[in-house]
C-alpha cells in the first residue's frame, strides 16, 4: 500500500509540475497575444470580398494544417483553435501541406479594385481565363480556355455557384472568384 501511496505522491508531484509549466506557458501566450493585438486591427484574409465564401468556410482547418505535422499522434484531430490567430511566421516547412486559404474575411469589400481590374481588358481576360481553367479542373467546364466570357463559361460559373450554394448571377463577382481561389490582380 505504501508503494501505491508513493506512486500517487509522485504523480501529484508530476501533475503539479506540468501544471506549473502550463501556467507559465499561458502567461507567455498572453504576453505574445498582447504583442500582436495590433494585428486585430489589420485585415488578415484575402480581401476580394466582404463575406466568407462557403467553399472557403469548408476549409477552415487548412491555415493551421502545418500543426498536423508537428503533432506526434499524426492523427486527424481537428486542430485546436489557436490562441493567437495572427502570429506571423510560424516557420514550419510543409511543402506537401494544403496551401492555406482564407479562413476569415473582413467586411470591407474591395469593390473598387475589382471594378478597376475588370475594366482593364488584359487583366479581365486573364481573370476569365483563370476562371475557365479552374472550372475545367473542377469538371464543370468543357469549353475552350480562351479568356472570353461566352455562354458556356457563364453557365459553368453558375453551375459552380449552384453547387456551392451561391446566388446565380449574370456576371462574375468577388464572391465567386474568392471561392475559386482567384486573386484579383
Amino acid at each position: 500500500m505504501k508503494k501505491v501511496n508513493g506512486l500517487v505522491k509522485l504523480f501529484t508531484g508530476f501533475a503539479a509540475l506540468s501544471a506549473n509549466a502550463n501556467a507559465s506557458e499561458d502567461v507567455k501566450m498572453a504576453e505574445d497575444s498582447a504583442r500582436f493585438d495590433f494585428l486585430d486591427e489589420v485585415e488578415t484574409a484575402p480581401l476580394n470580398t466582404g463575406e466568407l465564401p462557403i467553399y472557403l468556410a469548408a476549409h477552415r482547418s487548412h491555415a493551421s494544417h502545418a500543426s498536423h505535422r508537428s503533432s506526434s499522434g499524426g492523427g486527424y484531430r481537428a486542430p485546436a483553435k489557436p490562441k493567437l490567430k495572427t502570429v506571423p511566421s510560424p516557420v514550419y516547412s510543409d511543402p506537401l501541406g494544403q496551401p492555406s486559404r482564407p479562413n476569415e474575411t473582413i467586411p470591407s469589400a474591395d469593390e473598387n479594385n475589382f471594378k478597376k481590374v475588370m475594366s482593364d481588358k488584359e487583366k479581365r481576360k486573364n481573370i476569365i481565363l483563370r476562371v475557365q481553367l479552374t472550372l475545367s479542373a473542377l469538371n464543370l467546364y468543357k469549353g475552350k480556355l480562351d479568356g472570353i466570357m461566352g455562354k458556356e463559361t457563364r453557365d459553368a460559373v453558375n453551375l459552380y455557384r449552384m453547387n456551392i450554394g451561391q446566388q446565380v448571377k449574370e456576371k462574375l463577382d468577388i464572391e465567386v472568384l474568392n471561392s475559386l481561389g482567384i486573386l484579383i490582380q
Binding site: V42, E43, T44, A45, P46, L47, Y55, A58, H59, A63, H68, R69, S72, G73, G74, G75, Y76, T86, P88, S89, V91, Y92, S93, D94, P95, L96, G97, Q98, P99, S100, R101, P102, K116, N126, L129, R130, L133, T134, S136, A137, L138, N139, K144, L145, L180, G181, I182, L183, Q185
Partner: protein, 365 residues
C-alpha cells in the same frame, strides 16, 4: 540537428491579402506572360502601379526569378516550385483510398479539388523542363480530375515532365489507363507505384485497405500494357523485408514498362511515427536481402535504386545503388557527418528523425 538545405517558407507583411498561387519575379519581364498574379521581390526598378512590390532579403535569397509560391492571405508564402530546388513537388489532393501504416502525408477527406487548378496554373506558369512531382493523397483517386488536369496542360501546350505518385489502383480500369496514356503522348510522365508484397495478405495489411493489392496488380498490368512508364516502389518493413527480391522478381517478370525500381528506407513522419516500432527494421538486419535485390538489376536490365539509406547503414558493394534522395527542404546531416569522406556522395538523414538509430555509425567512412 542542422537546418534543412533549402528554406521554403517565408513571412512578409506586404503579402497580406495575397492568396493562392503567385509568381515571384525579380524584375519586370514582358516575356513572361503567365496568367498567375505576380509579386516583385527586390526589383531595382519600379515595376508599375497596382503591383505588389517589396524588398525581402530572405525571399530574394531563396528564390529565383519565375518561381511559384503559394500565399496564404495572411502574409505567409511557401515556395512551391523553385528553379533552385533539387526536387519540386505539388500536392493535388489529400484524399486517398489507401491508409498506409507508414503514410508520410496522412490523408484527409476534404474537398480540395481546387488544388488541381492551382497545380495546373503553377506548372503552366513555371514552364519547367525539369520533372515536377505530383503527390497526394492519391492523385488518381477521381479519374476525371487528373484527366482534366492533363487536358488543361495540353491546351497550353505545356510539356513539363511529370512524376506522379499513385497507388495505381485507378489503372485497374483499363479505359482510364489508355486515356491517361493517350493524353500524355507529348509529355514524359512516370508513375511511381508502391508494391509492398507478393501477396494480398502483406500488401493489404501495410496499406490498410482490403482489396488494394488486387487492384494495384491489375493496375500495374493495365498501365504497363498501355505504355505508361512505371517506377515501382518498395518500402521494407518488418512485414515484408524478407520478400523484397521476390517483389522485384514478380514485377520484372509480370509487368511491362517497369522503368526503375526504388527501395525506400522508411521516413519517420506522419503515421510512420506512431507505428514506428511495429514497422521499422534496421537496414543492417536485412543487408543480404538488399544485396540480393540490387543484384537483380543486371539480371532484369532494370535500374534498382536505394532511397534514403545513409551510406554508413548499407554494405559497401551496393553503395552505387544508393541515391541522394531526400528533398532539400527536409534533408540534414549530423555533426559527425562532417568528418566523413563520403558525405558528398551520401543522402544524409531526414530532418524528422528523432531516434538514436539515425546517428551515423561510430565508424566514420
Amino acid at each position: 540537428m542542422n537546418s534543412p538545405l533549402r528554406q521554403d517558407l517565408f513571412y512578409n507583411d506586404s503579402l497580406k491579402d495575397i492568396f493562392g498561387p503567385v509568381q515571384i519575379l525579380k524584375r519586370k519581364d514582358s516575356d513572361l506572360g503567365s496568367m498567375l498574379p505576380k509579386i516583385y521581390i527586390n526589383s531595382i526598378v519600379d515595376c508599375g502601379v497596382d503591383v505588389v512590390q517589396f524588398n525581402d532579403e530572405m525571399i530574394n535569397q531563396w528564390t529565383t526569378h519565375g518561381d511559384i509560391g503559394y500565399a496564404d492571405g495572411k502574409g505567409k508564402i511557401r515556395v512551391a516550385l523553385s528553379q533552385s530546388a533539387n526536387a519540386n513537388t505539388l500536392l493535388v489532393t489529400e484524399r486517398c483510398d489507401n491508409l498506409c501504416l507508414f503514410c508520410s502525408q496522412p490523408p484527409r477527406n476534404v474537398n480540395d479539388e481546387i488544388l488541381f487548378a492551382y497545380a495546373a496554373q503553377s506548372i503552366i506558369a513555371f514552364n519547367s523542363k525539369k520533372v515536377i512531382g505530383i503527390s497526394g493523397g492519391e492523385p488518381l483517386l477521381t479519374p476525371n480530375y487528373i484527366i482534366n488536369f492533363f487536358t488543361i496542360l495540353n491546351q497550353f501546350e505545356n510539356k513539363t515532365p511529370l512524376h506522379i505518385l499513385s497507388n495505381g489502383r485507378a489503372f485497374s480500369r483499363k479505359k482510364f489507363a489508355n486515356d491517361f496514356h493517350e493524353l500524355n503522348k507529348e509529355r514524359f510522365v512516370m508513375v511511381g507505384v508502391p508494391l509492398y508484397g507478393t501477396t494480398s495478405k502483406v500488401h493489404d495489411r501495410l496499406v490498410n485497405s482490403h482489396g488494394a493489392w488486387s487492384e494495384t496488380i491489375a493496375g500495374l498490368i493495365n498501365a504497363g500494357n498501355a505504355g505508361i512508364e512505371i517506377e515501382l516502389r518498395i518500402i521494407p518493413t518488418q512485414y515484408n523485408f524478407s520478400e523484397i527480391s521476390s517483389i522485384i522478381e514478380l514485377a520484372a517478370s509480370c509487368f511491362n514498362h517497369i522503368a526503375s525500381i526504388s527501395i525506400m528506407n522508411l521516413e519517420q513522419t506522419g503515421w510512420a511515427k506512431r507505428n514506428w516500432s511495429e514497422l521499422y527494421v534496421e537496414p543492417e538486419s536485412y543487408q543480404d536481402e538488399l544485396v540480393k535485390s540490387c543484384q537483380m538489376s543486371k539480371r532484369f536490365g532494370i535500374d534498382i535504386s536505394l532511397f534514403n539509406y545513409p551510406l554508413c547503414h548499407i554494405p559497401h558493394e551496393i553503395h552505387h545503388h544508393a541515391k541522394k534522395s531526400i528533398s532539400d527542404w527536409k534533408n540534414v546531416y549530423t555533426d559527425t557527418c562532417d568528418s566523413c569522406i563520403l558525405k558528398s556522395n551520401c543522402g544524409g538523414f531526414f530532418s524528422s528523425v528523432k531516434d538514436k538509430w539515425t546517428h551515423p555509425e561510430e565508424r566514420i567512412l
